[in-house]
């Protein structure tokens, strides 16, 4: 019972990271494909400004996922990290490059250097979700079973690769939808058109990949496949589909802001469907939630810690997004930190 609740919290954290982090990765993806310096300048500029205040926050969701895994389901953590060693190691390297590239690009003034940081940021925005997706694919297809050690076929198989590509496409979709809404907020109709087209395109790619995935990986993932095509799992998949279509419709209209919610719902519902489909397993069909669960006491405390987190972090997060959307958060300009006012020997401007 407790273990079940914690498993759902874990799934929720995964969904939060997929959505929050996904928007971020998506922005990086569009940065990558925005074209040369001249052509890509305007989309890049929007991407920079849209991502600014929140990327660190999104990253913490991932840490939360890990902590829930190793505290709540230690055996599961051990199994996943042993079997999925390579994709996870590469994802870790990708994360470093991404965060550093993004953060260092901002205060760098020399164009050549900014290009390098920008390129590093963009490329790693593509690779990181791919490898994380591949690891998830390994879990869903049951390959990350306890006792399996790292080897190529554990993750370099169709399921994992399709899952990795799906992750990239989904982040591109989320990113494009959010950027469309941001373009609208900043009143830039050309960029709005630009990203609207791209959100449709990404959505189509997601759809195609999902179909390929279902068709080709049927055999390996039969347990999850069955869950996704029957009962509650199927219902969630259909809801997700509806949310995705609603997004496609919303970005076209004046209400692009709402598309953000439906796109997040589309992704979150797929993840919920995946979780439902592999009940009662963490790794189908070798490790159940009950088998992997840590001590009951710890799980109860973990729920308490989560509750405190919600009480404390929730309002802070709400405040952040609110201040941000009301335009109260704004980076300091060079002029601010150069402070004409207090320059020794000069008078305030």
């Amino acid at each position: 019972m407790t273990a079940g609740v914690v498993a759902w919290i874990l799934l929720l954290a995964v969904a939060a990271y997929a959505c929050g982090g996904g928007v971020d990765y998506g922005a990086g993806f569009w940065d990558l494909v925005a074209g040369g310096t001249e052509r890509g300048e305007r989309p890049r500029w929007l991407i920079d400004h849209a991502m600014e205040p929140v990327w660190e926050v999104n990253n913490v969701w991932l840490i939360f996922v890990f902590i829930l895994m190793w505290t709540g389901f230690p055996v599961f953590f051990e199994a996943v990290f042993s079997a999925m060693w390579l994709p996870l190691a590469l994802a870790a390297v990708g994360l470093v490059l991404r965060g550093a590239g993004f953060a260092l690009r901002k205060p760098t003034t020399r164009l050549a250097r900014r290009r390098i940081y920008g390129a590093v940021f963009a490329v790693s925005s593509l690779l990181t979700p791919f490898f994380l997706g591949a690891a998830v694919g390994g879990v869903a297809s049951g390959r990350a079973a306890p006792g399996v050690t790292a080897s190529a076929d554990v993750w370099a198989n169709t399921t994992s690769i399709i899952a990795g590509l799906l992750a990239v496409a989904a982040t591109a979709f989320l990113g494009a939808v959010f950027l469309t809404a941001d373009a609208r907020r900043f009143d830039a109709p050309d960029l709005e058109r630009y990203f609207r087209l791209r959100s449709w395109f990404a959505l189509v790619v997601v759809g195609i990949l999902a179909l390929i995935g279902l068709a080709t990986t049927h055999k390996h993932t039969s347990y999850v496949y069955h869950g996704l095509t029957h009962g509650l799992g199927l219902l969630l998949v259909l809801l997700s589909l509806a949310a995705a279509l609603a997004t496609a419709w919303l970005v076209a209209g004046r209400r692009a802001g709402w598309a953000r919610f439906t796109s997040v719902a589309a992704v979150a519902l797929v993840i919920a469907a995946w979780g439902t489909a592999q009940r009662p397993y963490l790794v189908p069909t070798s490790l159940t939630v009950q088998q992997a669960a840590g001590a009951t006491r710890t799980l109860q405390w973990l729920m308490l810690v989560t509750a405190i987190a919600i009480v404390l972090v929730g309002p802070a997060l709400f405040l952040l997004y609110r201040l941000d959307t009301r335009g109260l958060l704004e980076a300091q300009t060079d002029a601010d930190v150069e402070g004409g006012a207090s320059r020794p020997g000069t008078s305030p401007l």
């Binding site: 660190e56 939360f64 230690p74 550093a100 790292a150 840590g294 802070a316 958060l329 060079d334 020794p344």
Partner: protein, 505 residues
């Protein structure tokens, strides 16, 4: 290195690269941590002064520090995230076996980081638009969030040093977990306070050291004086406190982890009237080469009497204690830490006495030379402290319950060495870029302070870093092309620099 070769004979091939990688990534993360924990606090002290006294110099300092904070926080996050991957990538068996016993501390840490990330975002991006005092108060929880984060990390680390809060079942699996006991382990209190003081002290000396260098180069304005005084005062107050906390933690180790204490003091055989060695090298036959020997002192320090019995390394089988080379390393790092800690007290005293006497900073250049060195020295001290803690615990990953060699990943050594190589390269680049960016920011500021206003449009994208939030006008379709989001922000009336927070609002 030779520490490891000695061990390798009996341990899996993956252990060496795994340990190297863990030590390297932790060692670099720790470089950033003092600023991460304490820079918000020091900045807030400065910020408060700026608002209360309506002091534009203090405000400028606070703003600049927060610009540095933005970059430093990002580097701290990415290096920290790597560490959490490594728990799984390098030590899966440790987490698989003990995760539910001690992992919860990280849960506390996670929401503390969450809060910290949110609050820092608000603080960093709130300078321009929030009301001055609202902005300040929104950041006040930051130092507390940092302390909570430290609580989680140190909780986990002290558990590894003195594990408790569980019993073992027949198959050696932990059961009957008691979370309270697992969090509040015997080493937790001493370690936590020693760590927190170290972080504030180090950040204080590092920041002050930067202005001390400026002072030595002849920049003796109020800006440098204030930039020096505030952080240095914080650090100087903590220095004697830290000495007592350090003494306390050493005595706790004497009781709770006697082999670690023996390694730190290179005590071979258990006995009374144990001499203290300053530096020196422990040989594998138990003799000590070099070093300065002070009779009876070690016994005296451990229990205030020369008759105090001190446990030696040979009290446990060779396989259960650090090797001679490891013990020597621990001994050296411990001695360096204690030496620097003591020397810093002299520096703090110098400052305090002069201040009480003259109400001013000491005039001599030597003081500022020492102050500049103190920044570097305290960072070295922190590294030394962690090496003492971690290497002194060897060969255990969970003291007396699990060996490092039993926790290591089954992944092939070759993959780990490759990963190690990649990580080193990436970290060198990231840290190099980080230092480069911070230096570039400071050079820019200095040029401006000296009256050279940089040309507004150095490159097509100059205004984007710390650029204004896009305004409709800035995005107007015509504005694309080079220099897209308008010219220099400084030239735009609605975004011009504001003299002071209190002024125009």
């Amino acid at each position: 290195m030779n520490t490891l070769t000695a061990l390798l004979a009996s341990s899996p091939a993956q252990e060496a690269p795994a340990r190297q990688l863990m030590a390297f990534t932790l060692g670099t993360h720790i470089l950033i941590v003092p600023l991460g924990v304490a820079l918000p606090f020091i900045t807030l002290v400065m910020h408060h002064r700026a608002l209360r006294k309506n002091d534009p110099v203090a405000l400028l300092l606070a703003r600049r520090w927060s610009a540095v904070m933005a970059v430093q926080f990002a580097v701290g996050i990415v290096t920290g995230t790597v560490l959490s991957f490594e728990f799984g990538l390098l030590w899966p068996k440790m987490m698989g076996t003990w995760g539910d016993v001690f992992g919860l501390g990280f849960g506390v840490e996670a929401w503390a980081f969450f809060l910290e990330a949110v609050l820092i975002a608000i603080y960093l991006y709130g300078w321009r638009r929030l009301k001055p005092w609202t902005h300040f108060w929104l950041a006040v929880p930051l130092p507390f969030a940092a302390l909570m984060g430290a609580f989680g990390i140190i909780g986990a680390n002290s558990w590894m040093n003195t594990p408790q809060g569980f019993t073992l079942d027949a198959s050696g699996k932990p059961m009957n977990v008691s979370v309270q006991q697992a969090v509040f382990t015997p080493m937790f209190g001493p370690e936590y306070w020693h760590f927190v003081a170290a972080m504030f002290l180090t950040a204080g000396y590092v920041v002050a050291g930067i202005y001390a260098v400026g002072w030595l180069r002849g920049r003796r304005d109020r800006y440098h004086k204030l930039g020096f005084t505030v952080p240095f005062t914080v650090a100087a107050i903590l220095t004697p406190v830290q000495f007592f906390l350090g003494d306390n933690i050493a005595r706790q180790i004497y009781h709770k982890q006697p082999e670690k204490f023996a390694a730190a003091e290179i005590v071979w055989n258990t006995g009374t009237h144990v001499p203290e060695y300053l530096f020196g090298r422990l040989e594998s036959d138990g003799s000590v080469k070099g070093g300065l020997k002070i009779p009876d002192l070690d016994s005296f320090l451990a229990g205030f009497s020369a008759n105090t019995q001190v446990t030696g390394l040979t009290s446990v089988p060779a396989a259960d204690r650090p090797t001679a080379a490891e013990a020597t390393l621990v001994h050296w790092t411990f001695d360096i830490m204690a030496t620097i800690g003591s020397v810093l007290i002299l520096l703090a005293l110098w400052y305090a006495v002069y201040w009480l006497w003259r109400r001013d900073l000491p005039k001599t250049r030597w003081f500022f030379r020492c102050a500049a060195l103190a920044g570097v020295a305290s960072v070295i001290t922190v590294e030394c402290g962690w090496i003492t803690t971690e290497v002194g615990r060897q060969p255990w990953i969970v003291y007396q319950y699990m060996r490092v060699s039993d926790a290591v990943t089954p992944t092939k050594a070759g993959s780990l060495w490759t990963m190690f190589g990649i990580v080193v390269v990436v970290y060198v680049l990231v840290f190099g870029a980080f230092v480069g960016v911070v230096r570039m920011m400071s050079r820019r500021w200095r040029r401006v302070d000296q009256g050279h206003v940089p040309p507004p449009g150095e490159g097509p994208e100059t205004d984007t870093p710390y650029g204004p939030r896009p305004e409709p006008a800035a995005v107007a379709p015509g504005a694309s092309g080079s220099g897209g989001s308008s010219g220099s922000s400084a030239l735009r009336p609605d975004h011009g620099p504001r003299p002071s927070k209190g002024g125009t609002e």
